[in-house]
Amino acid sequence: MSTSNKSIPVSLPGPGSSRRIKNEKPQQGFKALWRLMRYLSSQRLMLLLILISLLLGTAGTLAGNYLLRPAINNYVLKKDIVGLGHIALVMIGIYIATGIFNMLQYRLTIKVAQKTISNLRNDLFDRMQYLPLQFYDTHQHGDLMSRFTNDMDTVSDALNNSITQLLISSITLLGTLALMLYISPILSIIALIMIPLMLYLAKLIINKSKSFFAANQAALGNANGYVEEMISGQKVVKVFGHENAAIEQFEQLNQVLREKATKAQFYSGMMMPLMANMSTINYALTTIAGGILVITRGFDLGGLTAFLQYARQFGRPVNEISSQYNSLQAALAGAERIFAVIDTAPESETIDPLPMPAPIQGQVTLSHVNFGYVPEKQVLFDIDIDVKPGQKIAFVGETGAGKSTIINLLPRFYPLLSGDILLDKTSIFKLDRNELRKKLSIVFQDTHLFTDTVMENIRYGRLTATDDEVIAAAKLAAADSFIMQLPQGYKTELTNDGANLSQGQRQLINIARATVANTPILILDEATSSIDTRTEIAIQEGIDRLMQDKTSFVIAHRLSTIRNADVICLIEKGRIAEFGSHVELLKQKGKYYRLYMGQFD
């Protein structure tokens, strides 16, 4: 006879919910909860409405059930049909009002929850935009993505369901308890005898299933990781005829997963029915005791009827509270991970930045720069270079020598250990960071593109560029001809990180993007490594034109690309090994000479 809010997940589980980790405990649950509440607090009026409708709805549900007692005692047993009619009308009124309050509560809760989650997502994304690169160097993409997907999902579930359900269940529990005590204190004691036992059992099962879920999750992670690797590495698997070995290994992982999953499913599955059955036993005990009370102590039948309903549904809020408490804990653990990112210090702001030198001459000076991604492991030693306005400087050296690192210091991606970098004799660390970056354009080694048209991908360099300017830039970068061959030319949508383009084509688009930016300083990090030598000759002219009047930094493996640099800097193990013009370095007959001659041995 229950009309209480049973635990039925009314919203569909989100995309990541099947992978939800059910065994997590927040470190400082209260703090995370408090912060979530602060997010909610911007919608105070709505929260108040929710609380009111929640109270009225729950009270209505309890009252509707309670009215059965007077209905039976005062009217049915006394054969008062008019009175029965009246009370029936009152009950109808209560149920309809309850229905309306419940609808209101559910709808408002969803609105508030979705709004809050959307704010939370926005805050997380905003913060990600300003996190220093060290953060990205030390956190895997998958880990960050899972904060956006899995963790957000658990928090969203908690806001949509757990918090209100916990409130409703608690109120229902207290209300039921009060009514039970009101109807019969003795019967209440009997009915409550089972509760501690049930709670203890529930705790036991939850602990068991938590540990099995953790094991399940770990096994699932292993199997998934293996699958991902074997599928993405399919070519290598085929080439080495490794299919059967892969299947064998997978079956082992799959078996482990099976064992863990079976246990996890068994223990988590038995919670609900076991509690329901315990509750039935409780109900039977109460019925026996109630029956005896009616006979021996003249307890009223209507009272027994109402009491039995409460006794029957008493297990539900208990059950509900324990399971919602668990999801709330998982949600708070998720919220903590989200807040941990939001709380990470952003790239430091320059306090009272010096004015940007105007117009920019383009003199870049690296003065005794020492640097390490982590302080314990220095990778650049005493780099001391002065690049005059409009000069082209090229860095050569082995992979891992530190060429890219030097270039990554120019836009102030990382702080130095010591030394300074100056732009037109002003330390870049004293300039406004964004103003500084607006003066540089960089073509990176790994070329990723955005899901958008080719046109917009190039325009990314300068948002105000006209279509004509974009096309002119593409022509300069020798990208125009292949773009025109794409199905919709410049309007072609690039999807999946430009998967439909070759590596070389993506590099050309990146060069076009830097071209359209038209900044005083240009940085090319292996920008043409995947472009064949003839195309490279074709764009070389464009790049040369682009570099006119610009200070430019170039890294390339192919020495032909850097031959005409004003200065060439050979980096070895984080130090400048040789420095000078092409001709000077060849005359030295040092490392550069051997490197250069090696290309045509």
């Binding site: 690797e229 039977a284 992979t399």
Partner: protein, 580 residues
């Protein structure tokens, strides 16, 4: 989704499927008689003041509840085994299937999508199987029993049920029907949010360098708002099911109290009967609710089932031929011949990716291939170990069509260092052993030395035992390439193909590797794809490719004299040297 696709994977759990309904029936029966027993206590025990009778029936109630616990535990035990086992079988089948796929098949699905199908979709199937085993029979059975008991108590009162039930069923149906399309839209909105985040993670340097934070935030704001909007709409509809159910249930209770109360007054219904009737009507409506939830889950799982089925039913497009299985040809010399080979990745495309290619490579000689991006060099070499099959013509190894070899023989004698190469999680040693499981430590060190990898591997604190993350993240590009070369060398292949596999290696090292190879693999036919003239000029034969065609072939000196394309490439790399 056809059920027959999935039944084979439940075979080992036939017993569970037969035994589960048995436990469900016991459980349902035990639970459903409780209100009836309660009414007996009220009507026969209390009204007749018979305490013994009350105790007897009460103990029966407790006994039945304990039986129900046992039945439930058995049910869950078998359900967990069956549903997890089903998912396990499904995963194995999918993994085996995917291992049999050719690249065209993998490309057709995309590897990311295959991974989700094998993980998330299978998980969904497991959940739904568990839910079905527990609910699909239980809920309707509960309903049927409850209806029978209710009708047996009083036929007239059952009319209330006959009205309430269809109203509730219909409203749930309407709400779900209205809500589900929003959930599909919500899924798409989720994908869009994820893709913006993913791209920002990949492009973090670009965003920072171009100071486009505000631009990205605006982009994110939009997809985020869309998601919030559609999620709110979707949930707002489906969430109404609860209050609607509560309302219908409340009103039914009132109706039963009103009509039933009158019957009790006139003495045509016992009080206990009225009370248990109230219980049954609640039971029926809750069962209906659970049933609708199960259907909701199933409808979502069908989408997953379809995606799994699609993979299982896909026939691998490249397999051992009958001829290959019959004749166990072995590769002995390593002679390669292309006979008028034409190849298209996409059979519909007009322009072939390789157009009428013919050439021959003698055993133990070196062939180099040079040409622009997209000229078809990688495509060409991938036809030799049958990573793809030719569209027209034939590729011969030792004068036998590659399609007439067993794939295993073919691929074990041909090693290829791919352009997009990959290392796997595990130690460097384990990765190298992919080349040859039986390789001795000496073999491995020797191969690593040839690939110029030994020195840097030993410089790591754990040397050959150094752990590599997924995709070998903790070694540089050049180091990765050298490990991949060593891995291929360990196969001691008859044919070794190197597809631009030293592009991230500096020129000095590149030369050292090439020189080492000559001595190490004296009886191996070598195919080298490269961008640098210096890497190809010493080959016995050089092919110059352009737009899927061979536009020149011969030795370095000959090509330099006669071939304009080669001259151009040479000029582009060599011009500066002359000046210097």
């Amino acid at each position: 989704m056809k059920l027959s696709t999935f039944t084979p994977y439940t075979k080992s759990f036939r017993k569970a499927f037969l035994i589960i309904p048995f436990f469900v029936v016991i459980d349902v029966f035990c639970e459903i008689v409780q209100p009836r027993l309660m009414s007996i206590i009220v009507d026969d025990g209390i009204l007749h003041k018979d305490i013994n009778y009350i105790l007897k029936i009460g103990l029966a109630m407790i006994g039945l509840a304990i039986v129900a616990i046992v039945a439930n535990l058995c049910n869950i035990y078998y359900s967990a085994h069956a549903s997890v086992g089903f998912a396990t079988n499904l995963r194995t089948a999918l993994f085996r299937k995917i291992q049999s796929f050719a690249f065209a098949d993998t490309d057709y699905f995309s590897s990311a999508s295959l991974t989700t199908r094998l993980t998330n979709d299978t998980n969904m199937m497991q959940q739904v199987m568990m839910m079905c085993l527990r609910m699909l029979l239980r809920a309707p059975l509960m309903m049927v029993f409850a209806i029978i008991f209710a009708v047996s108590i009083n036929k007239d009162l059952s009319i209330v049920m006959a009205i309430a039930l269809p109203i509730l069923a219909l409203s749930i149906f309407i709400l779900l029907r209205k809500g589900l399309p929003f959930f599909i839209k919500m899924q798409q909105a989720v994908d869009r949010v994820n893709s913006v985040v993913q791209e920002n993670l990949l492009n973090v340097r670009v965003v920072k360098a171009f100071v486009r934070q505000d631009f990205e935030k605006k982009k994110f704001d939009k997809v985020n708002f869309d998601l919030m909007d559609v999620a709110t709409k979707a949930s707002s509809i489906v969430v109404l099911i609860m209050p609607v159910m509560q309302l219908v249930m409340g009103l039914s209770l009132v109706a039963v109290t009103w009509f039933g109360g009158q019957k009790v007054m006139t003495g045509t219904l016992a009080l206990g009967g009225l009370m248990s009737f109230l219980s049954y009507i609640t039971q029926i409506l809750i069962s209906l609710m659970l049933l609708s939830l199960t259907f909701m889950m199933i409808s979502r799982a069908i989408a997953s089932g379809d995606r799994i089925e699609e993979v299982l039913e896909k026939q691998p497009s490249l397999t051992d031929t009958a001829e290959g299985l019959q004749n166990r040809y072995a590769i002995t010399a390593g002679r390669i011949a292309f006979k008028q080979v034409t190849f298209r990745y996409n059979l519909q495309s007009e322009k072939p990716n390789l157009d009428n290619i013919s050439f021959e490579v003698k055993p133990a000689t070196t062939l180099a291939i040079i040409g622009g991006t997209g000229s078809g060099k990688s495509t060409l070499v991938q036809l030799i170990p049958r990573l793809y099959d030719v569209s027209e013509g034939a590729v011969l190894v030792d004068a036998i069509d590659v399609r007439n070899y067993q794939l295993q023989e073919l691929r074990s004698q041909i090693a290829i260092v791919l352009q997009q190469n990959q290392l796997f999680s595990g130690t460097i040693l384990e990765n190298l052993k992919w080349g040859n499981e039986q390789a001795t430590e000496e073999d491995i060190y020797a191969a690593a030395r040839i690939a110029c990898a030994d020195d840097f591997i030993r410089s790591f604190p754990s040397g050959y035992q150094t752990l590599l993350g997924q995709g070998g993240v903790n070694v540089s590009g050049g180091q990765k390439q050298r490990i991949c070369i060593a891995r291929a060398l360990l196969k001691k292949p008859k044919i070794l193909i190197m597809d631009d596999s030293t592009s991230a290696v500096d020129i000095d090292t590149d030369r050292k590797i090439r020189e080492g190879l000559k001595n190490y693999l004296q009886n191996t036919t070598l195919l080298i794809i490269a961008q640098r003239i210096s890497s190809v000029m010493h080959a016995d034969q050089i092919l110059v490719m352009e737009e899927g065609r061979i536009v020149g072939s011969g030795s370095h000196d000959v090509l330099l004299q006669t071939n304009t394309s080669y001259q151009e490439i040479y000029q582009s790399q060599h011009l500066q040297k002359e000046e210097a």
